[in-house]
């Protein structure tokens, strides 16, 4: 396990390195998200979100983050974006919606920021 400040998950600004500590912290949330590869599990979540989260024993922090649809909180609670993307899909959010939410931009502003990168080539 790494614990020096240099190896802190916060070492790169605005970035969480998904290491062993985060993988342990987020295991329940990521396991629930992984289950959403199956359509029947996505339906079960939609039908009764609280019961489905309870089945995966989400931590209170994870449950709150999911209930509030707050992606930064999900990441802080150990969520990994590859798995969270499956949950975001249930909410009808694509990665640009998720990017906008995390950066505090409107979706249009976030898309325009990316287009501006291209215009500079």
């Amino acid at each position: 396990m790494v614990d020096s400040a240099q190896h802190s998950p916060e070492f790169i600004p605005g970035t969480t390195v998904f290491d062993g500590a985060m993988a342990m912290k987020g295991y329940a949330l990521n396991a629930m998200c992984y289950s959403f590869n199956k359509a029947e599990n996505r339906k079960a979540f939609r039908d009764d979100e609280s019961a489905y989260c309870a089945r995966y024993a989400l931590t209170p922090e994870q449950r709150t983050a999911v209930a509030s649809r707050n992606v930064l909180q999900m990441i802080a609670a150990g969520g990994n974006i590859y798995y969270l993307a499956k949950l975001a899909g249930i909410f009808g959010l694509n990665v640009q919606d998720v990017g906008a939410q995390q950066t505090g931009m409107s979706v249009d502003a976030f898309k325009n920021m990316l287009l501006a990168h291209g215009a500079e080539v």
Partner: protein, 283 residues
Amino acid sequence: MAQILGGYFTSHVPAIGGAIVRGEQTTPYWKPFFNGLVPVREWLTEQQPDVAVVFYNDHGLNFFLDKMPTFAVGSAPGYLNADEGWGLPVYKPFAGHPALSWHIIETLVAEEFDVTTCQEMLVDHAMSIPFELSWPDAEAWPVRVVPIAINTVQHPLPSARRCLALGQAVFKALSAWGGDERILVIGTGGLSHQLDGARAGFINKTYDHFCMDSLAPHPDALTQNSVREIVEQAGTQGVEILNWIAARGALGPSTREIHRNYHIPISNTAAATMVLQTSSAPA
């Protein structure tokens, strides 16, 4: 004797799959990316590969955090795609090449790469989208595949130097293979992008150009950065460049770039497509 024809490298952004389903290849947003595939298709038509060794990363279809191999080599007679949870179509199956897979596995372990071997393995969009791009009209893929999955999800990830060495060991295996296959190497993912965190939307053209410029002539230059430095330079998912680096290693020491396309943005990603040809390929 088997021939290693060259390498095809491309981004595997899921949104590309959506654009294909909707037939948006020629819209202003998508055309600059899809146009970059035309030379790839022409080159593949010339070269007629019948086997592809594919370096990619799984995004939570086959592998979860319960068991996360650093390097996993498929040895199955076939590989299926499946529902990934967020609405992509389920893509065509792939035929495997178990004999070549096991030959590669034997070589890798002899070279002290202690890989995970998979006789059953689902493969995700990181395999399927590059195939959809290169053979858009195929009813079945014209090549058999050996998939090699690299962990780019849960740190610690393998170093760039280790990934290049893995590819070089695959080159050694392919060079010693007694069949008459025409082998294509594929590396998928990248280039710079970050989906998560307050830095979401991060793109780094300077680093991307360094990667593309170094890939054919100086792959060692790509191994000078630690994984943490690559994350900083390329973004949390830009670290998928590790797949490219491994694929480059599998081409052997000498290869030349014959095609490059770089376009920003595709979804949140700086998208790139390249073809490297080896000297053993027909000109």
